[in-house]
């Protein structure tokens, strides 16, 4: 069965600095990988996904993620963090045969 790990519960960065939120996955087949963001008392909002093709995926709000098959990783990145990026971020994986599996989430705090 597929699984996702987000090794950091919390990530703190200063505004204007680059940010990285880490995600590693395990699937038996080809992965479909997703990043979502959740603001307080809201549902999850889709940021970006990797299905196939270019390993660097660009998404909403200036976020991007790099698919690395050899390291089974799909880290979320942004070149310059904003205070408004502070939220809970979820990585998710699916292999086409099973359920979507979510990581436990990483809380990103961007300090002014």
């Amino acid at each position: 069965a597929q699984s996702v790990a987000q090794p950091e519960d919390q990530v703190n960065v200063a505004e204007g600095n680059p940010l990285t939120v880490k995600c590693t996955y395990s699937v038996s087949g080809n992965p479909y990988l997703f990043w979502y963001v959740q603001y307080p008392n809201r549902g999850l909002q889709f940021l970006l996904k990797y299905i196939t093709g270019d390993n660097l995926v660009k998404g909403s709000y200036g976020f991007e993620a790099e698919f690395n098959k050899s390291q089974t990783s799909f880290h979320l990145k942004k070149p310059s963090a904003l205070v408004s990026d502070s939220a809970l971020y979820f990585c998710a994986v699916r292999d086409g045969l099973g359920d979507m599996r979510f990581g436990a989430g990483t809380r990103l705090t961007v300090k002014p």
């Binding site: 999850l44 998710a92 086409g96 599996r101």
Partner: protein, 113 residues
């Protein structure tokens, strides 16, 4: 929230009572999902539907049942609520298959006393 509404948005109930949560979509998407969100667990799939009257179990389906009599509505029922079912419940929809993006509703916060 992508044309998805959930009702109620908040509910407090007592152990042993039945509870039904409703998800309504206006996107005419084929697939609908129910998840629960708990700290430290992310989101876990309870049940999903791939068409009217077509449903299947997810990772944490024990104690839950679902029904889908119309494309736009997907109901989640807790037959006899327990305190372990205190959670935030999210509905999601998607249109195609495994690679399709799931879009989420605003959630229902359920407290079972």
């Amino acid at each position: 929230d992508a044309g998805i509404t959930q009702s109620p948005r908040h509910k407090v109930t007592e152990t042993g009572t039945p509870v039904t949560l409703r998800c309504h979509q206006t996107e005419n998407h084929r697939y609908m999902y129910w998840y629960r969100q708990d700290p430290g667990h992310g989101l876990r799939l309870i049940h999903y539907s791939y068409g009217v009257k077509d449903t299947d179990k997810g990772e944490v389906s024990d104690g839950y049942s679902v029904s889908r009599s119309k494309t736009e509505d997907f109901l989640l029922t807790l037959e006899s609520a327990t305190s372990s079912q205190t959670s935030v419940y999210f509905c999601a929809i998607s249109d195609l298959g495994a690679g399709d993006t799931q879009y989420f509703g605003p959630g229902t916060r359920l407290t079972v006393l």
